[in-house]
Amino acid sequence: MNTQTNAMPDSHVKSQATAPGVIPVTKQIYWALRREFWENRFIYLAPLGVAALFLFGFLIHSMIHPAGGVRGLSTLAPDKQHKAIIEPFDMAAGLVMGAFILVAMFYCVETLQRERRDRSILFWKSLPVSDVTTVLTKASIPFLFLPLISCAIAFVAQFLMLLVSSVMLAGSGFSVATYWEQVSLFQGSLLLLYHVMTVHVLWGAPIYGWLLLVSAWARRAALLWAVLPPLAIGTLEKLLFNTTYFAAFVGRFFTGGPEGSYPPGTMPMDPGTHLTPFRFLGAPGLWLGLAVTAAFLAAAIRMRRHRDPM
């Protein structure tokens, strides 16, 4: 009992000294983000892996088929050169973006369910981090961090491809400067970022919102709950009315809306692409989608509040 009475004034002094300050929400978000990156290392490892694999393939291909690769450029007609040059760069960007979409979907459908499944939600909830902070931090992964990381990885991969090609071009008779100019890495990367942010983040937002909601709600098999209802609706529509409006409707969230951020038929990363951001931002469908996303997220926050661990 002695220890107790001795301990008392001590802890009293201490609790006054470290006056219960409030941790600013920005700091909480920072640590909540750290948690996401500790827990889900695939957020950056998967796009990195895809980029590394593509680079490896590109390197091998350049070495095995020097004539078919960049060294053969000078033999092509000038109008075909541009396409031949940027094709592998588009492919690299496309693969990394494909990885981004898959990773984002997997992350969203898993994240809120897993913390209930392994009961760690009871630990997270024992700390003064609100459900709003937690869910919005999780949402920032597909909406902000994953696209930025993916674009950065695509940029680095394309830069390395440029270096490899420049070495291969030496003595081929094709100018390295022209090659760099054709690729226009910086402009292309900014266009890629624009493409991802408009088509896959802003326009595709309801997909991730929906997946987060299902993840917060489903007791098990969140992926099935996320996919089967839309699939069932699409199938019923086809069977009953022989139409595919619903499938087309869902498909648009993956490919961008009818009021795209580009005129139809142009390549996203082509420097010649004429951007139409105002037309994109002016589309009511975009704002409707964002409103629905907000509703999904609000529901996911509510779910995390109410759902028991499994």
């Binding site: 470290t18 640590w31 760690s120 700390l127 028991d308």
Partner: protein, 291 residues
């Protein structure tokens, strides 16, 4: 201000009533043991107190409504729900960083000091630790948080007796002071006996026993009755009777100490004996030892 105050606390899951109108008053600085059979409503009651589940009735924890003011309340309340809720992928160093990052009242040096007494390595992941070590880690985190209310739900389930003993000793010596309140729900009643200041039995969503430990000691007497005095002893209406060491052991409530001393050897009942007597006397329970 009482630490926890509930009036008519109710919670139903469909037709299953988990809490059937509980009244509760826990003053600051108490260590309350919440004991009950499986499915009695212990965890539901704790979840309501922690703002993890909505409820009907009135409930105030540290003067706040735990459901609507949960985010604010969690700065002053800490809990260890169940064993092994620490995420298995996290490293010891990461969990220290995280709690230090988000909790305004976390004393990292204290947690490091507590961990230094264990064999837990900073670089280990939780999944690499034994069950006992995970509990040690969680306890170190919890004890380093200067909370006013600590809620423990079966904190030592599945641990061996050494760890269990250590757990409660640590809690009592290195954590508890009169500004803090601890509520612990458990099955393993005998180990917490010397730790508690208050005892509460809960069964089928109702509180069936509620008393301070001093009161338990003075109000309840267990008598190992001489065989020839058994009839006389039974006439005094014991609340429970069991057999032990070839003798009848009778439990009396509010009996005259002098009177029962004449019947045999008197001693204080253990919590588990009291629990069997009280819960066994409830409708629907017929343990073999009961008459």
């Amino acid at each position: 201000m009482p630490c926890i105050e509930a009036r008519g606390l109710r919670k139903a899951f469909g037709t299953n009533i988990a809490l059937d109108g509980i009244d509760l008053l826990v003053e600051e600085g108490r260590i309350l043991g919440l004991v009950g059979p499986n499915g009695a409503g212990k965890t539901t009651a704790l979840n309501a107190i922690l703002g993890l589940t909505p409820y009907q009735g009135e409930l105030r924890v540290l003067g706040r409504d735990p459901w609507t003011e949960r985010d604010r309340l969690m700065r002053d309340v800490c809990f260890m729900a169940d064993v092994a809720v620490l995420p298995r992928w996290i490293r010891v160093s990461q969990v220290l960083d995280y709690v230090a990052g988000v909790h305004p009242r976390f004393d990292r040096a204290k947690a490091e000091g507590l961990l230094a007494k264990t064999t837990i390595k900073r670089a280990s992941k939780v999944r690499e630790l034994s069950k006992g070590m995970v509990t040690q880690l969680h306890l170190a985190l919890v004890m380093a948080i200067d909370a006013r209310l600590l809620v423990l739900d079966e904190p030592t389930l599945g641990l061996d007796i050494l760890f269990r003993k250590q757990f409660y000793d640590s809690l009592l010596n290195d954590y508890y002071d009169r500004n803090r309140t601890i509520v612990v729900a458990t099955h393993q009643v005998d180990e917490i006996e010397h730790v508690l200041t208050d005892l509460m039995f809960i069964d089928s969503g109702r509180i069936v026993f509620n008393s301070s430990m001093e009161e338990v000691g003075s109000r309840y007497l267990e008598v190992m009755v001489h065989p020839d005095k058994l009839t006389a002893a039974r006439a005094l209406k014991p609340i429970h009777e069991r057999q032990g060491f070839g003798r009848s052991i009778l439990l009396f409530e509010a009996a005259d100490r002098q009177q029962v001393a004449a019947l045999g050897e008197v001693h204080a009942p253990s919590i588990s004996d009291l629990f069997v007597a009280v819960i066994g006397n409830q409708a629907g329970h017929t343990p073999g030892a009961a008459r």
